[in-house]
């Protein structure tokens, strides 16, 4: 931008702020304020079904209760396990898909579209679909494994471990293509000349991947890793629709636990403490994200 334009524009600062104002108003009212309010609510004991008790200030009592509650600890472990397993699988699968849809071949547009289909399907639909595939009687999983030996059909969702793994599978199926797109954008930045040179030097397919693609892809992989970690930390729809957190608490993730505390049991204060804890965990991760990759982007905007 030349100096004259910049100068004219700075004279127009007021107009610029007006153009930003609606977006800022929305963000402040419905995102920033609610987070602060959640923190404030988490310091009170508020039970919606018992308004007679009032709303006494209890300090950090809700957080103390949260730390002592074994159900909360279980929800944290389930969420952490879900994040670790699904993110790792999504990156691996996403890398494979990205390599496929980056290659040149006729009909590539159709393959890219096919890979995007799971991503675009509503999570509520995907949850019901996987629930049906693993249905104990009518499901595709049993049909493929046992055919007409009906006596051997497995009630998949009755087992805590398997129910958890189905939730991971559904998430991997649905979001690997998103990871693939982030990785694809990284692949497109690698100049073809590097591969040409390596081929002339006699490097084979694996050597080209390991010595060129992988090192140059590291930023994109890191980005996909952090993006997927933060996003899978807030998993909710899958657990709510597919299992309602069961069997037992095997698939009860943190957001579902907090939702039940707040809106099913009406424990507004305690539910807010859960909310704030999830928020802090993700906020910490997003700070890492901005430090690792975002700072480069932000400098360009400054």
């Amino acid at each position: 931008m030349t100096k004259s334009v910049a100068k004219a524009m700075s004279a127009d600062h007021a107009a610029a702020w007006w153009m930003l104002a609606p977006a800022l108003a929305f963000t402040l009212t419905l995102a920033v304020y609610p987070v602060i309010a959640s923190f404030v609510l988490s310091l009170y004991r508020i039970i919606l079904s018992m308004p007679a008790l009032g709303e006494p200030f209890v300090g950090l009592e809700n957080y103390g209760a949260l730390l002592r509650d074994p159900t909360a600890r279980q929800a944290f472990l389930v969420t952490a396990g879900f994040v670790a397993l699904s993110t790792a699988l999504e990156l691996l699968l996403g890398l494979c898909i990205a390599l496929v849809i980056h290659a040149q071949f006729p009909g590539r547009g159709w393959v890219r579209a096919a890979a995007l289909i799971p991503w675009v399907i509503p999570t509520a639909v995907a949850s019901q679909m996987w629930r049906y595939i693993f249905n104990d009687q009518y499901g595709l999983a049993n049909l493929l494994l046992f055919g007409d030996r009906v006596a051997e059909y497995i009630p998949w969702f009755a087992s805590p471990g398997i129910a958890f793994l189905i939730m991971v599978l559904a998430d991997v199926w649905k979001t690997s293509s998103f990871a693939a797109l982030l990785i694809l954008a990284g692949l497109q930045l690698i100049p073809d000349e590097l591969y040409e040179a390596a081929r002339i030097d006699g490097a084979n397919l694996w050597q080209r991947f390991w010595h060129i693609t992988f090192p140059l892809l590291r930023p994109a992989l890191l980005l996909a890793l952090l993006f997927r970690t933060m996003d899978s930390f807030r998993v909710f729809d899958l657990a709510f629709v597919m299992t309602q957190g069961g069997p037992g608490d095997a698939t009860q993730v943190l957001q579902l636990y907090g939702y039940k505390a707040m809106f099913t049991e009406g424990r507004m204060g305690y539910g807010s403490a859960v909310s704030v804890s999830v928020f802090l965990a993700i906020f910490f991760l997003s700070l890492l994200y901005i430090r690792a990759i975002g700072s480069r982007l932000l400098e360009r905007n400054a």
Partner: protein, 271 residues
């Protein structure tokens, strides 16, 4: 040769893995009641459109479709109307604190829904926004703004500065420069942002569950999640409803695959 084989295997794996599970569900929607309840399940359907009729007319699916169109449509229009000027300013005008705003938006897009659910619910209860479509559109717009602004800001940044300079010399204000010069040039970016916002609002579940408790107001994801028969889950009707809810999205992907891919990677990698 080995490379060719590997690629072919990868293509088959990607396409089959992506489509097969949903195709099985779609096949179910075309079965007869007897075929759906048969153990072991039948592979191929022979029933026709039976379940679609039941889903549409007995389960009132059209009302859910209408609600989803209203909510996703208004979200898209409002998010663009608010996001376009904001993105232009953040891309083109030198403002103090600009990078903080962009970074802040990025953080907002990662907020867990529960972290704001309680206060948003209380706010909407105050202004009688619960069980209304506009009450749902407000949080949807808020959480579409980060992606809209990031896509459009990166788009505006790529446009040549000379045009703006010419407009400035002719005495255009910031607002006029945006609407007369930049907006037509940014049309592809706006289109991309519109598609992604529409998909987000069409699919969103958490806030819909929180805000819309009356069946007549609910959107498709809620209808599908809470789909119940009298005694058991009516899988045939549910599959038909799922196909109908997904069809517009599949069409969008087939038609606009290129825009969606560029949009999703725009904010993230290119900056």
């Amino acid at each position: 040769m080995a490379q060719r084989l590997l690629l072919a295997a990868g293509i088959v794996f990607t396409v089959a893995g992506s489509l097969a599970p949903f195709l099985w569900f779609a096949l179910t929607s075309l079965k007869t009641q007897a075929e759906v309840e048969q153990v072991p399940p039948s592979w191929l359907p022979s029933g026709g459109w039976h379940f679609y009729r039941i889903a549409l007319f007995d389960h009132d699916l059209l009302a859910y479709v209408g609600n989803s169109i209203i909510v996703a449509g208004s979200t898209t229009l409002l998010a663009l109307a608010i996001g376009i000027p904001a993105a232009y300013v953040l891309a083109r005008v030198r403002l103090p604190g600009k990078s903080w705003i962009l970074g802040g938006l990025l953080t907002v897009s990662m907020f867990p829904q529960m972290a704001i659910a309680g206060p948003v619910w209380r706010l909407l209860a105050e202004v009688h926004g619960l069980n209304t479509h506009w009450g749902l559109v407000l949080p949807y717009v808020t959480f579409s703004l980060p992606i809209v602004i990031w896509i459009l800001a990166s788009f505006f940044r790529e446009l040549p500065a000379e045009l703006e300079e010419a407009a400035r010399v002719d005495g255009c204000t910031t607002w006029q420069t945006l609407t007369k010069i930049m907006l037509p040039l940014a049309a592809p970016g706006i289109f991309t942002a519109a598609i992604l916002t529409f998909i987000y609002a069409w699919n969103e579940f958490f806030f819909a569950l929180l805000i819309l408790t009356q069946p007549g107001k609910q959107t498709l994801p809620l209808g599908i999640a809470l789909f119940q028969g009298e005694f058991t889950i009516p899988w045939g009707e549910l599959a038909a409803a799922s196909v109908l809810a997904t069809l517009p999205l599949v069409l969008m992907v087939l038609l606009f695959q290129r825009w969606i891919i560029s949009g999703l990677s725009a904010g993230a990698v290119k900056g």
